[in-house]
Amino acid sequence: MAAKQNIWDRAFRVLASLKTGITLLILVGIACATGTFILQRPITEPENMLRAYSPQTLQWLDRLRLTDIYHAPWFILLLAALGVSIICASIDRFPKAWRMIARPYMRTDVHFRSALPMQAHFAAGNASQALMAAEKAMKHAGLRPRRVVENDEVSLYAERNLLSVFSVYVVHTSLLLILAGGIVDAIYGYHGYVTLNKGQSTDQIELRTGENKKLPFTLRCDGAGQENYADGSPKKYWSDLVVLENGRETLKKQIIVNDPLVTHGIRFYQSGYGQSGELESVKFYVTTPGGSPTQVTLAGKNPVQLADGSTLRIAGFIPDAAVREGEIYAKSNNLNNPAFELAVTSPKTAAGERLWLVPTVQPTVQAKESGVTIAIKSFDDVQTTPFTGLQVSHEPGQWAVWAGCLLMAVGMIMAFYLVHQRYWAVAYEDAKTGGTVLWIGTVADKNRDHFQERFDELAKNIREQVAQPARELTHA
C-alpha cells in the first residue's frame, strides 16, 4: 500500500516540476518548428511533395507523421502532456497561495522581523501613540491597516492586491481553456467550401477532407458582386445570402469579406467571386447591310429582330474557348475566353446561317449570306451569372479560445502590473534601552526597487508623525 502511494506521489512530483514543464515546452517548440521546415501534407500538393523529397525520404517522413505534424498523434500527446503538467503544477502550488488568503501572516515574530529586507525602526515615546501615527500614515498612503490584537499586544497589518497571488493560476487556467477549445474544434469542428451561382441554392458543402457534409438548412445566393477602386483593384466583394428552413426564409444577409453569415453555429465567409460560365446577357454592335452600327443586347436564346428584318440569336456559348486547327474546343467553365455561336436569319435567304464570334481572335465577324456584321467592343459587355465562393467553418470550441484569451489578458495584467504588498507595524520595548521602539516592515513580490522608494517615504512620514508628539511633550 505504501509503495503504491509512493509511485503515484513520485509521478505527481515529476509532472508538477518546473523541469518537466520547461522540457515539454522545448519539445513542443521543436515540434512546431520542424513542421515549418518539412512540407506538410494537407497544404502542399502531392506532386510538389514528390518533387521536394525522394521516395524513400517521403516514405519515412510519412511513417513518422512528420508530413502532418500538427495532427500527428504524438504531437497531440505532447500538447496533452503539457496540459497535464500545467494542471499538476497548479495543484501542487495552489495550497500555498490559498494560505495567503485563508491564513494571512498578520503577527510577526522577532526572527521574521530581522530578516525582512525592507524595514525601519525608530524610537517612539508611547506605544499606542506610535501605532496610531503609523496607522494614520498608512491610511494616508492609501492602505487599509488592520489592528491585530493578541495577548494585549496590538500591531498593525495592511495588505494590498492580494488577488495578484492568483494571477499565475489565472494565466495557466486560461491556457488550459484555449487548449480545450482547440481540442474541441479538432474533434467536432470542420472547414469547407461552397460555390453558389446567383440564384442557386444548396444544402451541402465540401469539406477540406474531401467529403461532403449535409447542412441542416438550405442556403441560397440571391446575388453577388465586386466593387473596384479607381485603379481597378478590388474594393469589396459581396453576396446576398438567404437561409431557408422548411421552405421558409429565416435569415437574410449581405455579407462581405470580414463580415460573415452566422447560423446554426456555422459561419459562411465571403471568400471568392467570379463570373461563371453561364451567359446572362451580351451586348453586340450589329450593322445590317446599308445600315449603321446599333447596339443589340441578347439574353438567353431568344432571337432579336434587326433593322432590316433579319434576326440574330445566340445558338451556343463557350466561356473558355481554345481554337486549334480551325476547331473550337471548350477548355474550362471559367469566363476566360468567351466564344459565341451566332445564328443569323435574313429575309433574303431562306435558311439561317451560323458563325462563330471569338472576340480575342477577331472582334468583328460578318455573316456571309446576310451581310450582317456583329462586333463586340469590350468584355464588360459580356455578362455571365456571377458566382460567389464561400468559406464555411464550424468551430464550436472557439468560445473557449476567446474566453481563454480574455482571461489571459486579465491574468497578465494581474501578474505583471499588480504587486502584492504586505505591511506590518509593531511597537515593542527595546531590552537594551528600555524605551519603546516602533518597527515597520514591508514585503512586495515584485518591482522591489520601486517599492523601496515608496517604503522609504512611508517610513519618513511615520517618523515625522511619531517625532511630533515627543517634541510636544518636551516643549510642554
Binding site: G35, T36, Y229, S233, N258, D259, P260, S393, F416, D449
Partner: protein
C-alpha cells in the same frame, strides 16, 4: 610571452581627443545633405517643376540623414570615447524622429488608413517605434548608449524602405479590418520591445564583465550564420540563387501561387563563400585559443575580424552593384523569357548590413570598453530593466497573437491554421514564456537571463525575416 594565460585582451590605450573634428564633420555633412535635398526638391536637376517640399519621401529622406548622423555619432563615440557625441546623437535622433513622425502622419493621411498595409508601411512604423523607444529608454532608464544598437537598425530599415514599393495601394478587402490595425500595431510594439530587451541584455553582458573575446566569438558566429543562411541558396557551381525581384513593381516574381522564381547570380556565390570563411575564422581562432589556452591566438582572432569586416564590405558592395545594374533572364510561368532586374533582395541586403553593423559594434567595444562601461548603468539595473522590458513585450506578444487569431477567424473562418508565420510567432511566445519561468520560478538572473533574452530576440528576427525569406526558399522548384 609577457601575457599570463588569464589576462584578457587589453585594448590599446589612447588619449581621448577633444572630439570636435568628428562632430563638426557630421554636422556639416548633415547640413550639406539636407541642403542638397532641399535644392533637389525646389530646383530639380532634370528641369522638372519644383516638387512639394513636405511630402512623405522628402520627410523620410530627412529622417534617414538624421538617423545616419545619430548612428555615426553613436558609433563615433564608441571609437573615440568622446562624451559629447552622445548628446548630439540624441539631438539628431530627436529631429529625425520628428521628421519620421511627420512622414508617417503624411502617409496615414494620404492613404486613408494607418501605415500597416504593406511591408513598406510596416518598416515605416517599425523604424518610428525604434526611434521612439530609443528616446524613451534614454529618458526613463537613463541608458544613453542604446542608440548604438537601435540607430544603425533604424538606418538599415530606412534604406530597405527605399528598395520597396511605396505605392499607396488601397486596401484589398481582406485588409479592411480594424482587427488588422490592432494586430499590426501590437506586433510593431512587441517586436520593438523585444529589440530593446536585446539591446539591454547585450549591455548587461558588457557591464557584467563578459570577456571581450566571448563577444568576438558571438559576433563571428552571428556573421557566419548570416552568410551560411544566404549560402543555402548556393547552387550551380558558384552562382547564388536569389529570389527574383521585379524592380519596376518592386515585388517578388511568382511562377504560380506560392512558388517564387529564383534567379542565379553567377560568381557572387564564390565571393560569399569566401566571406563566410573569413567571418567564421575569428570563431575558429577563438575556439583554438580556448582549447589550447593560448592567448596569442586571440590576437590573431581579432586581426581576422578586421579582414572579415573588410571582406563583408566588399561583399555588400559587390551585391549592390551586381543587383542594381544587371538584368538576369529567367523563365516565367509560361516558359517565356523574363528579364528580371534584381534590386538587392531585401533579405540578403539586411543580412549583410547587419553583419557589418554587428562587426563594427564589436570593434567599438574592443577599442572603447572602459568608456562604454562608464556610460552604462550598473549591471544589476540593466538586468532588472531587461526583465521589465520583457514584462512589457510578453503581454504585447500575447495580445498580438490573440488579435491575429481573431482577425483570421473573421476573415477566413479559422483562427489557427499552423501557417509558418503563425507557428513561429507561437514559438517566440514559448521562448519568452520560458524566460519568465526561469527567472521568476527558478530565480535565474544575470548571465543566464541575458542569454535567454538574446535567444528570444534571435527567434523574433527569424519570425520576422526568416519565415518570409528563408523558408519559402527551402523548397524552390524553379
Amino acid at each position: 610571452m609577457a601575457r599570463t594565460a588569464t589576462a584578457p585582451i587589453e585594448a590599446p590605450a589612447a588619449t581621448t581627443p577633444s572630439g570636435n573634428a568628428l562632430l563638426v564633420t557630421v554636422i556639416l555633412g548633415t547640413v550639406f545633405l539636407l541642403f542638397m535635398a532641399f535644392l533637389n526638391v525646389v530646383k530639380p536637376a532634370d528641369g522638372a517643376p519644383a516638387g512639394n517640399l513636405f511630402n512623405e519621401d522628402n520627410l523620410l529622406y530627412v529622417a534617414l540623414i538624421l538617423y545616419s548622423s545619430a548612428a555615426a555619432l553613436y558609433i563615433g563615440f564608441g571609437v573615440t570615447g568622446v562624451d559629447k557625441y552622445v548628446r548630439f546623437a540624441s539631438y539628431a535622433t530627436m529631429i529625425g524622429f520628428a521628421a519620421n513622425t511627420l512622414a508617417a502622419g503624411h502617409r496615414w493621411y494620404s492613404a486613408g488608413h494607418p501605415p500597416f498595409a504593406s511591408i513598406y508601411e510596416m518598416l515605416l512604423s517599425f523604424v518610428w517605434t525604434l526611434a521612439a523607444l530609443t528616446l524613451f529608454a534614454e529618458r526613463k532608464y537613463g541608458v544613453k548608449i542604446i542608440g548604438t544598437i537601435t540607430m544603425p537598425l533604424a538606418v538599415t530599415g530606412v534604406i530597405l524602405m527605399q528598395l520597396l514599393s511605396s505605392a499607396v495601394r488601397p486596401l484589398v478587402p481582406a485588409l479592411q479590418s480594424t482587427w488588422l490595425h490592432i494586430h499590426v500595431s501590437l506586433a510593431m510594439l512587441a517586436y520593438a520591445a523585444c529589440a530593446l530587451s536585446f539591446a539591454l541584455a547585450m549591455m548587461f553582458l558588457i557591464k557584467d564583465k563578459m570577456k571581450t573575446e566571448t563577444f568576438l566569438a558571438f559576433t563571428s558566429a552571428m556573421t557566419a550564420a548570416i552568410y551560411f543562411g544566404v549560402l543555402t541558396r548556393f547552387e550551380r557551381w558558384g552562382g547564388l540563387n536569389v529570389i527574383a525581384w521585379d524592380f519596376q513593381n518592386k515585388e517578388e516574381v511568382f511562377l504560380q501561387r506560392g512558388v517564387r522564381l529564383f534567379v542565379t547570380i553567377p560568381d557572387l556565390g564564390w565571393l560569399f563563400a569566401l566571406v563566410l570563411l573569413a567571418a567564421a575564422a575569428p570563431l575558429a581562432f577563438y575556439g583554438w585559443a580556448k582549447w589550447r589556452k593560448n592567448d596569442s591566438s586571440l590576437v590573431i582572432a581579432n586581426r581576422a575580424l578586421f579582414i572579415s569586416i573588410a571582406l563583408q564590405i566588399v561583399a555588400l558592395g559587390a551585391f549592390v552593384l551586381r543587383a542594381r545594374n544587371s538584368a538576369y533572364p529567367a523563365l516565367d510561368a509560361d516558359g517565356q523569357l523574363v528579364t528580371t532586374s534584381l534590386s538587392a533582395s531585401p533579405f540578403i541586403l539586411t543580412g549583410v548590413l547587419s553583419g557589418v553593423f554587428a562587426s563594427l559594434l564589436y570593434l567599438m567595444m574592443y577599442w572603447r570598453r572602459p568608456d562604454l562601461e562608464r556610460l552604462l548603468p550598473s549591471a544589476e539595473v540593466l538586468d532588472r530593466v531587461t526583465y521589465k522590458t520583457i514584462g512589457i513585450a510578453f503581454p504585447l506578444l500575447t495580445a498580438m497573437i490573440a488579435a491575429g487569431a481573431y482577425w483570421a477567424n473573421r476573415t477566413w473562418g479559422s483562427y489557427w491554421s499552423w501557417d509558418p508565420k503563425e507557428t513561429w510567432a507561437a514559438i517566440t511566445w514559448l521562448v519568452y514564456a520560458g524566460y519568465l519561468h526561469m527567472r521568476v520560478t527558478r530565480g535565474w538572473r544575470g548571465r543566464r537571463a541575458a542569454y535567454f533574452a538574446i535567444l528570444g530576440f534571435a527567434v523574433v528576427m527569424f519570425t520576422f525575416f526568416g519565415v518570409t525569406y528563408l523558408l519559402p526558399g527551402l523548397h524552390a522548384y524553379a
